[in-house]
Symmetry: D3
Subunit: 287 residues, 6 copies
């Protein structure tokens, strides 16, 4: 912090947030946590501070996370070699067990502790708890890769009602007691939709949607669902951006008000996105 | 605001408030509003912004006000001459009617509107509403100058429970339907005590309690009730400071956790006092 | 009271009220207070007793008041001369300030104290508190004369829920912090409509709607909205009665069940109207 | 009703009740119903009207009844001869079955219907329902004559909370499924005590406690528990009055605030007792 | 109980109920009690145990009863001869009084006590309490035989909400304070319908609906409303079975999910019906 | 299940549970899950069925688990060798990470899924969630082996209030974000104490406390705290039984009503213990 600031200047800065706070107090904001912000220690600390602050001032925040490199890490240590079918990675029983352990055990509890340390009141859930996320096999050749069939949001609502920050690891279950590996972005979209969230923040390692993907200055600040579709057809949205954008558009169709592809590499990007006049990425809205 | 600040710096500043917000969320803070902060238009705007922001993030704020120069103003216009008995000003029936009109009518509604405009949800009360403040005649020669006999805090609690900012004008009533002019600081102390407030902020036009009253750098940051008494005996607290300090000490005995004699001339002094590491004046605490 | 009555006769009289009480318990009754009943000291006492009794037995009562002669009174004292444009009185800034002081300060607190003294639990509000009544300028030449644009009834409902008698002074506000003078009958109609009141009582200094305006015995006990319109077209309703009746008809269209133009000169006219078989004036009903 | 009364006089009479209503609203009043008021059709109608009115205006009323002549009546019809042991009447199995049928079936439902017809919301209970009154055999020679061992007041409180008038027939039960005939006055005292009633009204066919039992003008308006004991020792209270007074004194020791031996032969005696300045009998109070 | 069972076998049996319990927990089950199960002492005890157990584990149970032979019994004792008009039995005033006494007094309280003794928390109601069942005269020649016009289910819901077992005797009332004798099955169907019950159990002395009425092995386990109508047209359902089946079909049209004509002669038939895989009779369902 | 049982016999068996169900409905039962019942697949299924059934009928059940052989299993696979100091096993950082993953990830989610499959509504927690269990280092030489310093039971109570089965893995946290391995029995005792549980069931692989440890027929059915202490002094309780018994005694001092050392090798031992007349082990009670 620039230490030349007077207290009055500090107060002035806080007051600038008033209209933004007013907008989100009592509403639900879901953060899909991932990318650099999950690896870089300092960014991680800042994400946790942001979550705790927002929760404290009365915004209902939910943290949805995948596992990043920790899964590969443990698989390597266990000498587990990835298998492929037609170029797609197979999740066999042993692998899904590792995924479950890493996500619901290691990563989830680690995030809960980070929030605890920052003064938050967090509780970890997985898609298995209270059958939060139900799934079925997507492609029998790929093993335990799940396609979401149902979201039972009650446990999350119950925790939000009691003032907790739910931290959700993105695995799913079915009626026979199987666990599935599921796509984190898709899960976040479903959860945010079921909560009729005011905003879903997709933390990524990019600036947002760019008109010229090599020029960050061409960032598009806001996109309607229709505009997003048009941009895809015209090829502006291409490659790895396609599923990301699709997920944002889906989230809106599930009931989320706005979805933001957010640059998680920026310090305190969540606060900036929610409490300043600038935002931090590309925001999707209904038409 | 220093416009050279980046969004990340802004977020960093907000995050610094986390421990202070944590301390006050869900608690009650009573502000005795007066002095320069009530006359200077810019300071007034800032007080209102501070109140709305605190209310929004879940702190229960109450604004207690007197009438400042507006009473004298209307009395002059009405050609009403102040009377005195042994050097003390007399509040006859006509005067107390003017006081009531100015405080509960003009000043109270003006403050409510200021809060409205800033986005707050404020409701004005006087000591007459719900028999909030009951009083009796203090000295029969002085007319309708009241000594507080009882505080019925329920209406204020009811409004706080429903999320409103109560704005209270300091007049009192009795069982026969009389109105009394009462001391604003004393009323604030009683109200804060009845609410078991976490903090009572007494806005003044001084820096706080000074060891050397001519040297602002000798400000005493914190005083226990016992220390305050000792300072008075030793003459450090003297003159007009005596009743002010007495009122603070009383407030603590009524159940308030901390009372602050605060310099209301500083912009956003309320936010600075509550949400930064510095405070803005002298804080009184239990021993 | 006729002192020859036995206790048994008294009890018999009370029992006669049973069906009327049954009808109104738990329902909302709005009283637009004005005219002689506001000036004559004895009538005023009786109105207050009636309000307290009704509140006590579980009827939700709201008192809406204007200012009567007190505004003119203070304007005279302040040497403020009324201005006119095309024969219409202008409310300049200074005047609306006086109106606010008198209504929200003097008159409102005086009524609250009357109710207090009778054992009621009353809280004063104005159209400014909680932005209860929002308005805009009606005719730019007339200054701060407001046309109601919105009623935010929540503060009134909140007070009724907690058992208070809301006492409302009929001024209004806008988003810029201006105060407006508004028509009391219109305000009462809007408030009663927003509360879906069972009954709105318009206290006046006339018997009600008369077929022959010089003969009180030609009073019309009940009128449907259509009948009222027909009577106006046929000229039976004329002169000063036209806006009064229009206001009653509007109130019904806003959601009030029945509206009564009531003779406030009769002692305890409110109790008579609500708890006896006779009523006290002309009642308007939906068709 | 004296038909010469004007509406204003009627209203004046109602207003006189204000302080009495204020005293009892939200409080519990238990009426032990019996004697002439239960036999005379007109008095019965009036008791029911009184109960409904009190319930309607927010007083929690409970009606406790015995069976009067109806039990003897049915026993006669069934050719059942009363048996005696040492001059005391025996309640054999067959008799207690008749008592149960008459009290809980005939009388209770008849009273519930009377209250229904008057517009009340009444539900009948007996000491058997929810094990409201538990008892044991008092004297083995007398059969099913019970001595109260426990009152489980929850069902009565539950009904009062939901706004019903509980109508209770005074029989009792035990853990083996037996029914007992119990003394109505004693049962009423226990029930009123368990409800911490504001007042218990014992309807009788006498004026109250008289200093000279042959001179109604010597009625004692109020008696402390100690005074009652003294009067008994001095012989002023004697004969059949002894158990009645004892019951009143016990009720106070169980937690009732005031108990009244009331003259049930007076029309609307309940309303007179509660809502006028006179009362209708002798009131017992704590010392 | 077969005393050779080990604890583990007992536990195994209990666990078998899991899916059935899951289905009914939190739902409402209405039992129309009658026939042999009401006369045979052992069966009666078992019905009461079943009710208490179901209530305890969180199923909302309601017991609806008629009077069986007890009415005739008392009429005989009182020398009351049944009258007939066109072969139909007449219920004169005296008779309906007897019915009320027996049902609401004797039988109702007896059942409440049985439930008490088994550890239940039961409260008896009749169609008169809270005007639960309103009726009008069906055929003026038959006297007080009622046709149900309205069911005010609130008192029953209130008792279920507070955890009681309501025990309801099937008489009805009207606005003039008359009592009516009504058909028990019809009353049960109306009550179950008003409660949107999950299941209505009609206890009878037959196996259920039989294809060949002389061969119990031809029992029909389940019938849709349409199938029931078809069976009636084809004559399979005939004689006394017709009104019984009609009543079941009506109950479904009133909002009950399933209705069962149940063999009440089987020990613990209620538990068997609800908690085992077999059921005990013929179940009716929507098409 | 003995397939020769008739439905009536089944119902009879269920009814036998009535008094036991009555005792535990609405109360809290904590099960410390471990030993054979956690390894043997059939026993595991039965434990889960028992938990779901108890939860369903309104008993608040909590499952507390350690990790059994799965921790060693994963450590082996990762080539992690146990270290020892003075014969005590050391939990270094890497080990506690493995413990956390296995307990909070693998085992916890596996149990939650088992309960899901049986129809339960389970949510997994660890000592880290909501800072449920706080600990400090016990012996610096042993690394992350924790000694419990505080239990924040609110998250568990919140889940029980909403009807969930909390499944708790026994790890702990501190203010710096460390995880600790803690003793499962001790954790269960603390959790049960904080919940003021009616009963804590310690599942073991022994019959209970035996007078002659080689003769199961010498099992002691019930022990007071004092008797337990005496038996320890006399040497009857010895060896591995000492810490187990100490833990039971501690649990009682923390507020648990009864603690049972239970033989988890018996099928459906939880149901047998709670719902039959026999119990399944040794029960400890206050003196």
């Amino acid at each position: 912090m620039p230490n030349s600031l007077s207290n009055a200047e500090i107060a002035g800065i806080i007051i600038e947030c008033l209209p933004y706070i007013k907008r989100f107090v009592g509403k639900t904001v879901v953060v899909k946590y991932g990318g650099n912000a999950m690896i870089n220690e300092e960014l991680k600390q800042q994400v946790m501070e942001d979550m705790v602050l927002l929760n404290l001032i009365g915004i209902k925040v939910v943290l949805v996370h995948g596992g990043g490199p920790e899964i590969t890490n443990l698989m390597d240590k266990l000498g587990k070699k990835p298998e492929f079918v037609d170029g797609l990675r197979v999740t066999d029983r042993e692998t899904v067990d590792i995924v479950e352990m890493v996500l619901a055990g290691r990563v989830n509890k680690s995030l809960v502790k980070f929030l605890d340390v920052k003064g938050g009141k967090a509780i970890g859930l997985s898609g298995v708890d209270g059958k939060l996320i139900e799934a079925k096999i997507k492609d029998s050749r790929l093993g335990y890769v799940g396609e979401i069939t149902k979201v039972n949001i009650q446990p999350v609502s119950d925790l939000l009602d009691r003032g907790y920050i739910p931290v959700i690891s993105t695995i799913a279950c079915d009626d026979e007691g199987n666990t599935f590996n599921i796509n984190g972005d898709t899960a976040a979209a479903h959860i945010a939709g079921a909560l009729k969230a005011e905003r879903l923040l997709m933390m990524t390692d990019i600036e947002g949607v760019l008109r010229d993907k090599d020029d960050p200055s061409t960032i598009i600040k806001e996109l309607s669902v229709d505009e997003a579709k048009a941009l895809r057809e015209s090829g502006v949205i291409s490659g790895g951006m396609i599923p990301k954008v699709e997920c944002c558009v889906n989230a809106i169709s599930y009931g989320v008000k706005n979805v933001v592809i957010m640059d998680g590499r920026i310090p305190h990007s969540i606060l900036i996105e929610l409490l300043t006049n600038e935002g931090a990425g590309t925001m999707f809205r209904r038409d």
